[in-house]
Symmetry: C2
DNA sequence: CGACGTGTTGATCTCTCTCAATTAGAGTGG
DNA sequence: CCACTCTAATTGAGAGAGATCAACACGTCG
């Protein structure tokens, strides 16, 4: 219906999408099939679904997840505007992951074989895809480090910092007045491998200490330094210290 | 020195590498710089190193990992012959991961920009790279599900099954006499977000129950069904049950 | 108004961690 | 051949972070 052409995509001004030639934009446009909008808390891709098309998240928040047969759920990553969805879906000998929305969301839909067409017709775009895929993986790597080796406090501090960064990068003012934060505590718990109750208690503890504040689906960072210290994160570049012991 | 040409690469007969044309093989050969061999328990890529070249693991086992500044380590994935190393390294705003060998290992070394050359000169190969990268991520996804939501017993069962599958796929007899298993219990612990002691106790419990057996760096599966039940894994395709509650 | 989803808090319970000690093998040097 | 050292595996005991159970508060909505 009221679909935006790729050439006027609101995501184009973002740093990530700089440098696309008009031809490349036209190519993407030609592969795009349609757009879909979904309300919050709906399923875009069902777990185990194998024939899902390729999506791009144009607006809103979503997340990828896997569940065990008894219902335990692990959120694998959160998806923000500009993220790719479904590259991993292809040819899974292991069952794939599901994708649900966190907010009302709008997706661009591409045919499954667009991935190949993109590679074939534009090596540059193809290269970008691998880069994006690799980058996606590095997000999961970070989460795995958290879930595997950080305490609850540290995990939450890490999540807040990383999500804040990503959300702030999407808005011009870089988040001075806070950034959108549509996750419920259940989502945080499922993203960090914690129970809902313990997530709540830890979140409250950090908030009471004045490290952050969450209200009306917005996240405010009150003491990034303290959070970063907790998270054992140093913006860019790790300090030159090696394991001390 | 005694380097094998790509056309005679021992990995070529594997299903993953079928279907490469002679031209594609020649292209890879032209981008290959050299080979390196490393003894067991050595570092191929240091954590935080940003200028690492691209590698292919030709023979042996290795693993990717991240550590916190106090020494806590999380193994992100295990690498077997045929695996790609270093695609994620590029342009990391977060510090990258390290790569260590588990056994004596042999790597093929490619220039950093080979990734781009490959895309430019052969869309097919470029497409394969994204596919491989996406597949790598799905391995990490699986581990994240384990570490986030499975109990110690379940995690170990899952790891044994998945590693057995991968190792068996690399040998003609499909692992009837067991497969190589060069991990120490510390590696298992670091790969599953467990402590060494608890890993040992859980491993022994499963072994005493007759589910598996590890000896002389080899893994024998004694009761795959029981392990799969524990792991909540069903070979291919998830049973049609939805979360029950 | 009752039902529901989300957040909050207190009280147990338990899985897993940490600490400590021992065993077994491989390698080294005398 | 035998101390000596190192690494990996093993086992017991006690401690603790986080899970589970149970209530309750609050806002939204049909």
């Amino acid at each position: 219906m009221d679909e935006t052409p790729c050439s006027a995509c609101p995501l184009r001004p973002l740093p990530l999408f700089q440098g696309h030639t008009p031809e490349e934009t036209a190519l993407v446009q030609s592969l795009k099939r349609r757009e879909v909008t979904l309300p919050a808390n709906e399923t875009l891709i069902h777990e185990g679904q194998t024939d899902a098309p390729l999506y791009t998240l144009r607006e809103g928040w979503a997340f990828r997840y896997k569940t065990l047969s008894d219902g335990r759920r692990q959120i694998l990553s959160f998806l923000l505007a500009g993220d790719f969805i479904g590259v991993q879906q292809k040819m899974a000998d292991a069952a794939a992951h599901g994708v649900d929305t966190l907010t009302d969301a709008r997706f661009c839909v591409f045919q499954r074989d667009s991935l190949w067409e993109l590679h074939r017709q534009s090596p540059t775009m193809g290269f970008n895809i691998t880069w994006l895929t690799a980058h996606e993986e590095s997000l999961v790597d970070d989460t795995l480090l958290s879930v595997g080796r950080r305490s609850a406090e540290e995990r939450i501090a890490t999540l807040l910092i990383l999500l804040f960064k990503r959300a702030a990068a999407l808005q011009p003012d870089a988040g001075v007045g806070g950034v959108p934060f549509p996750l419920t505590q259940q989502h945080i718990a499922d993203g960090l491998g914690l129970s809902l109750v313990h997530t709540n208690k830890t979140l409250r503890k950090l908030e009471r200490r004045g490290l952050h504040h969450i209200a009306d689906a917005r996240l405010f960072m009150r003491d990034v330094r303290a959070l970063a210290r907790l998270a054992d994160l140093w913006g860019d570049g790790r300090p030159p210290q090696r394991p001390l012991i």
